[in-house]
Each structure stands twice: as structure tokens, then as C-alpha cells.
């Protein structure tokens, strides 16, 4: 692949959390690496609580209190790592982004770079229309609580784009949106990405969305990267967890089988098992899985998987 230089590269991130009064910090994220390229979208997928939002927060230095980047490196092109400008966020909870006491329009204008503020009214309307509002004036005049859940998500996206960022981190930006609005926002992101050379980190649990718009995929489980590579890997996943995720997808088809959850539970923070974090729930687990951590192995086309059973053969063994 002829990928241009990444605009951001994260290597071996290890993020720990020390609860107030706790003796030792517990790991939240371990061994996570990825690159963000201009014009490409990386989707970060994984079970609730596996560390997606925390990983994203680390990029902009926005880790919650008590958490720190214990080791690993985040390198970025100059001027990028300033949250709000080079790097913009759409947070999972509208409340973390939108201030309840100011009108939405004013908040978006404040996120604009000085050059855009001279014709802020036009730019504001354009942004609101871009994210799918038919009545931009009413929305601009509204306070956040006067907007529906999906409208708040779109207002946050407009605010993030107002800063003309180079990297957009969007944490579940379409969860509250029906499919038609969702499709148009994803199309908008895809356009910005291609024409504006935006790099996008999309956090989502919707594998349908991932398959449709993302270029690359990183699947996390209990704080670790378990499988990554181009999105096409979804048609031939190697990690048993990713296989389980695909089976748990509800289908529209009339003959859809009952939902199959993955049996067992995600281990809680500080209770993550030794060895492969997935082994207590894994249908393929062997004795060795409970003791040794599987590290990512590389396969063709940038596909990596961290699993003892499904590891790619090491280069020396593989056929030429």
C-alpha cells in the first residue's frame, strides 16, 4: 500500500488508572498501536468498557482524572495535538461537549478559527446544513436541552468541524441517529476525509457502519488490540472474539436466528485475567492461553491478530 505519512501515530500505549486511595494502579489500555492517515478513516471497535474512549482521550491529552499514559508514544505532525484545533472531538455524551447555558450557535461560532469568524453567520448556517439540519436558524438559537438526542450529536459534529481540524475523533457519533440521517453524516465524513484530507478516528460498535465507511479497523478487547487491518478483514476474521461479534449482530432477515451473545462477561478493570484476556470466554482456548499473553502477529496486507491459536505463522515459516 502507498500510504502517505501518518498525521498521528500511537505506539504501544499503556494507560493506567489509580483509584483514589488505591495502592496500585490498574491497567486500562495495554499494547495498543495505530496510525491515523490523512484521508483515511480508522474504526475502533470493541465491547463496552474495553477502553475505546480512554484511548481516544489520550490522543488529545484529555485523560480523566486518575488516569495516565504510563508508557508508549504518541507522535503527530507539528501543531496537530492541540485539542479543539488540529484535533477535534465529538464526545460520546453530548453533556461533555455542549454547555447547557449557551445557545448552540454561539458555541459553534466560538470553535471557529479567527479567519472564519469574520463571516461567522454564513459559516454557521453552512455547517448546520452540512450536518443535516433543515432549520439551521432555530437550531442555532436553541439551548442544548431543546434539541433531540440525535440533533445534539449533529450539533457537536458541527462544532468539531467548525475548527477545521486535521484529525477528527468521533466517539459513537451516530448512535442516536436513524439510518437515513446516519447515512448522510457518514457520507459527509467520507467527503471531508477525501477532499479535505481529514484523518478520522471513528469509535463505534456498529459493524455495519464500519464495513461501509471505514478504511481500517482496530478491534479491542479488555484494553488490548486483538485484531487490526483493512476493513475487509471482517469477511475473514481470525480472532475468535471478532467472530463472536459478527455472530451477535442482529439481522433484518426474516429467518434471523435468536441473538447470540458471547457467553460470559467482559472482565472488570483490575480483574483482567492473566494470559489472553479473552481466554475465559473463548471457545478455542487451550491451556497455554491462560498463562501467556498473545502478542500481535502480522499477516498479509497489514492484517494483525493477537491469538495463540489463530496467530499468523511467523515470517520464517510462511511460504514466500
Amino acid at each position: 500500500m502507498t500510504a502517505p505519512a501518518p498525521v498521528l501515530s500511537a505506539r504501544d500505549l499503556r494507560i493506567v488508572y489509580r483509584a483514589p486511595g488505591a495502592a496500585a494502579p490498574v491497567p486500562v489500555v495495554e499494547d495498543v498501536s495505530f496510525d491515523l492517515h490523512p484521508g483515511r478513516m480508522l474504526a475502533l471497535v470493541g465491547e463496552s468498557g474495553c477502553g475505546k474512549s480512554v484511548t481516544a482521550a489520550a490522543l488529545g491529552g484529555l485523560l480523566p482524572r486518575g488516569m495516565e499514559l504510563a508508557s508508549g508514544r504518541i507522535d503527530a505532525a507539528p501543531g496537530v495535538l492541540r485539542a479543539g484545533r488540529g484535533l477535534a472531538y465529538v464526545f460520546q455524551d453530548p453533556g461533555e461537549c455542549l454547555d447547557p447555558v449557551f445557545r448552540v450557535g454561539r458555541q459553534i461560532v466560538e470553535a471557529m478559527p479567527p479567519a472564519d469568524r469574520r463571516h461567522s453567520a454564513d459559516r454557521l448556517r453552512a455547517l448546520l446544513v452540512q450536518v443535516g439540519f433543515h432549520d439551521p436558524d432555530r437550531v442555532a438559537r436553541s439551548y442544548p436541552h431543546q434539541l433531540s438526542g440525535g440533533m445534539q450529536q449533529r450539533a457537536m459534529l458541527a462544532m468539531a468541524l467548525a475548527g477545521r481540524p486535521r484529525i477528527l475523533v468521533a466517539d459513537e457519533p451516530t448512535t442516536a441517529l436513524d439510518v437515513t440521517v446516519q447515512a448522510r453524516l457518514l457520507r459527509l465524513l467520507a467527503d471531508l476525509q477525501r477532499s479535505g484530507n481529514l484523518a478520522v478516528l471513528l469509535i463505534t460498535h456498529n459493524l455495519g457502519v464500519v464495513a461501509e465507511v471505514a478504511d481500517d479497523l482496530l478491534v479491542m478487547y479488555a484494553g488490548r488490540a486483538v485484531e487490526s487491518g483493512p476493513v475487509s478483514l471482517l469477511s475473514s476474521p481470525r480472532h475468535p472474539y471478532v467472530e463472536g461479534l459478527l455472530r451477535a449482530l442482529p439481522r433484518l432477515a426474516p429467518d434471523a436466528p435468536p441473538l447470540e451473545g458471547i457467553p460470559g462477561q467482559v472482565p472488570a478493570l483490575g480483574r483482567r485475567p492473566a494470559g489472553c484476556p479473552f481466554h475465559p470466554r473463548c471457545p478455542l482456548a487451550r491451556p497455554g492461553c491462560a498463562t501467556a499473553v498473545p502478542h500481535p502477529t502480522r499477516g498479509p496486507a497489514g492484517h494483525t491478530v493477537a491469538c495463540h491459536v489463530r496467530a499468523f505463522p511467523s515470517p520464517s515459516e510462511s511460504t514466500p
Binding site: 470493541g46 465491547e47 463496552s48 468498557g49 475505546k52 474512549s53 480523566p64 460520546q92 455524551d93 453533556g95 443535516g132 433543515h134 432549520d135 432555530r138 431543546q146 434539541l147 433531540s148 438526542g149 440525535g150 440533533m151 449533529r154 459513537e172 448512535t175 442516536a176 436513524d178 439510518v179 437515513t180 440521517v181 446516519q182 447515512a183 448522510r184 457518514l186 457520507r187 467520507a190 460498535h205 459493524l207 455495519g208 457502519v209 464500519v210 464495513a211 461501509e212 465507511v213 471482517l234 469477511s235 461479534l245 459478527l246 451477535a248 449482530l249 442482529p250 433484518l252 426474516p254 434471523a256 441473538l259 451473545g261 458471547i262 462477561q265 467482559v266 472488570a268 483490575g270 480483574r271
Partner: protein
């Protein structure tokens, strides 16, 4: 139907929850004197009956009024028209103050779309999920800690969640605390606002299985607001599709998904993303802009975007009609798609 729940919970209801010709409007204020200059017609003339133990899925475009309808059912919005009742007992009525007793409030619970806003940041998960139980005197011999541990386990959260505060949880974990809190009161009707959307598929399956299990055991009835038609079909007996404040299609869930009658429902179904489906947002997307709820178009609210619209659609509002319990509000429903 499930047998009566064990004490201290009262028996399951025999009556349906009736939403009768309900409208909800939000005033638009503008100018120095904040004079009312119009209204957002968030919900218009909605009629729906929720039988005990029945689940109705409610889908529709962002901003079409789903949450507002749910809030009205839960007694959180005054009605501009219509009434909401259980049997012959009126709970909300236009132009009158709410008359809900504490017992009424226990029977109808709502799980909110934005979990962070719904949880008091100063309470631990243990307090959050058992607050209502203590208030309604429903602890029945258990300590708050025991009850909380049991309720949290049902939504897949372990013991160590008990003493944490909302900010210490991930988005999906907070959503599950909200579910546990609503379910603790063993309500008869639950409005679930996008409960599944913040959850990844495997936890989603777990939570949905929990909801269906409670329904089977206790006859709980859900108004399940969502936009994932796959999930909705899976959990719902009937499905309602809203557009601009009105119900435009209502019918058995399978019929609505397999044989949609309204052009808007067809557009929604055509836009569903599927893994392995077309790349590059090639799915069919509705043309045109969703109209403003502050200024709804005359005639059928969908006509500006409808591929089938013709003269009468621009003039007359189609009423909900149909047979075999599959209703549609469309002048051209009988015509071939």
C-alpha cells in the same frame, strides 16, 4: 401471561396503557420579551395502545418526536391535546395538571437516551439503582447493597461497580446502570429510549435478552424507541414508525419490516447498513431535507420527499387506515410501490 409477581410487588395489570390523540408542543420564544412566536409540534395526534406484556418498537428520523412521546407517557411533559390512561384511570390530560400517584409513577418507568444526564453524579451505582426501591419501600428484606449487587449483575456489571460514581463508567456501562435502576421497581410499562444504541453487539444481546426475559417472567410491556430496525424487529410485537410527530405506519413487527406500506418506512429499510453490504455509502438514502417540526408542510408531512406524492398529498392529511392490524397513513398505500 406470567403469574403474579411475588410480594412486595403488586400483581401485573389487566388493563392496557392507552395513548389517545396525544399532541405535545414546545413554545418557541424569541425577542426581548421572550414572546411566544410559534411552537414546535413535537408530537401530533398520536394514538397507541400498549397491552400488558406487549412491546411496541418506535422508529423514525432524528427529531421526529420519539423521546417527546416517551416523556409524555412517563408523565414528564404536559399534553397540548389528548389523554393518557390505564384502563379508565386517567394519568395525563390536556389542560390539566398531572394526576399520578406514587404507585402510578412506579408502574411506568423510563430509561433515558442520555445516561450521563440521567444519573446524579454524586451518588454511587449502589445508591443509584436502589434509590427508588428504598423510596417505594420495595427492598423486601434485602439490604441496599444486596439488592444493588443483584440488579447490577442482571445487566452484566460486577460487584466492583457498586461503589463507583457515574463518571467512572464507560458510556455503555452507564446505560446499563440506568436500565438496572428502572427495572428495580418492577414496572409494568417501560419506555426504553435508545437503550441498545450505546451498547456493542454482545452486551446489546445480553441486555435485550434480559429485557425479553423480564417480559416473559413479569409481563413487563415496553415502548422501545430505537433506530436499529434489526434490533426493533427482534424485540417488538408491533412496530410504529413516526414522521414529523405523527405515526405513519403501525403493524405487526414482521409485517412492517417485510411488507412496509409507507414510502418513508420503505426508505428507512433501504438505508439499513449491512456488514458485507455496499461500500462507500452506496445505500439508498432518502432525498430532500427532513422538514421542520416548527413549520410542518400542509397535507401529508412526507410529501416534499416522497417519490409517490401527487396532488392530493399536498392538500390533505392522510389518516391511519388498514386491515389486519397493519395501518398506514398514506394516500397511495394501495398503489404498487
Amino acid at each position: 401471561m406470567a403469574p403474579a409477581a411475588p410480594s412486595p410487588y403488586p400483581a401485573a395489570p389487566a388493563d392496557a396503557l392507552a395513548i389517545e390523540r396525544v399532541s405535545v408542543r414546545y413554545p418557541i420564544r424569541r425577542g426581548v420579551f421572550a414572546r411566544v412566536r410559534g411552537a414546535v409540534h413535537a408530537v401530533e395526534d398520536v394514538t397507541l395502545r400498549l397491552a400488558p406484556g406487549e412491546t411496541i418498537g418506535l422508529a423514525g428520523e432524528s427529531g421526529c418526536g420519539k423521546t417527546t412521546l416517551g416523556r409524555a407517557v412517563a408523565g414528564l411533559e404536559p399534553l397540548a391535546a389528548g389523554r393518557i390512561a390505564i384502563g379508565d384511570r386517567t394519568l395525563s390530560e390536556a389542560g390539566r395538571p398531572l394526576r399520578r400517584t406514587r404507585a402510578d409513577r412506579r408502574r411506568i418507568q423510563m430509561v433515558f437516551q442520555d445516561p450521563l444526564a440521567a444519573l446524579n453524579p454524586r451518588l454511587t451505582a449502589c445508591d443509584l439503582v436502589t434509590e427508588g426501591l428504598a423510596e417505594h419501600g420495595l427492598l423486601g428484606g434485602e439490604t441496599r447493597e444486596e439488592a444493588a449487587a443483584r440488579l447490577l449483575a442482571e445487566v452484566g456489571l460486577g460487584q466492583d461497580a457498586l461503589w463507583k460514581y457515574p463518571f467512572e463508567f464507560s458510556g455503555g456501562q452507564r446505560q446499563r446502570i440506568c436500565i438496572a435502576r428502572a427495572m428495580a421497581l418492577r414496572p409494568d410499562w417501560v419506555v426504553c429510549d435508545e437503550v441498545a444504541s450505546a451498547l456493542d453487539v454482545s452486551v446489546q444481546a445480553q441486555v435485550i435478552n434480559l429485557l425479553t426475559d423480564l417480559k416473559a417472567r413479569h409481563g413487563v410491556s415496553y415502548l422501545m424507541i430505537g433506530h436499529d430496525l434489526g434490533v426493533l424487529r427482534h424485540v417488538s410485537d408491533r412496530m410504529a414508525v413516526m414522521y414529523l410527530g405523527r405515526i405513519v405506519e403501525l403493524g405487526p413487527a414482521d409485517a412492517v419490516v417485510d411488507r412496509p406500506l409507507h414510502p418513508y418506512t420503505r426508505a428507512l429499510l433501504a438505508a439499513v447498513p449491512v456488514p458485507g453490504g455496499p461500500r462507500g455509502t452506496a445505500r439508498k438514502v432518502l432525498r430532500g431535507e427532513p422538514p421542520s417540526a416548527a413549520n410542518p408542510p400542509p397535507g401529508c408531512p412526507f410529501h416534499p420527499r416522497c417519490p409517490l406524492a401527487r396532488g392530493e398529498c399536498r392538500r390533505a392529511m392522510p389518516g391511519l387506515a388498514g386491515d389486519a392490524g397493519h395501518l398506514v397513513a398514506c394516500h397511495r398505500a394501495g398503489d404498487a410501490p
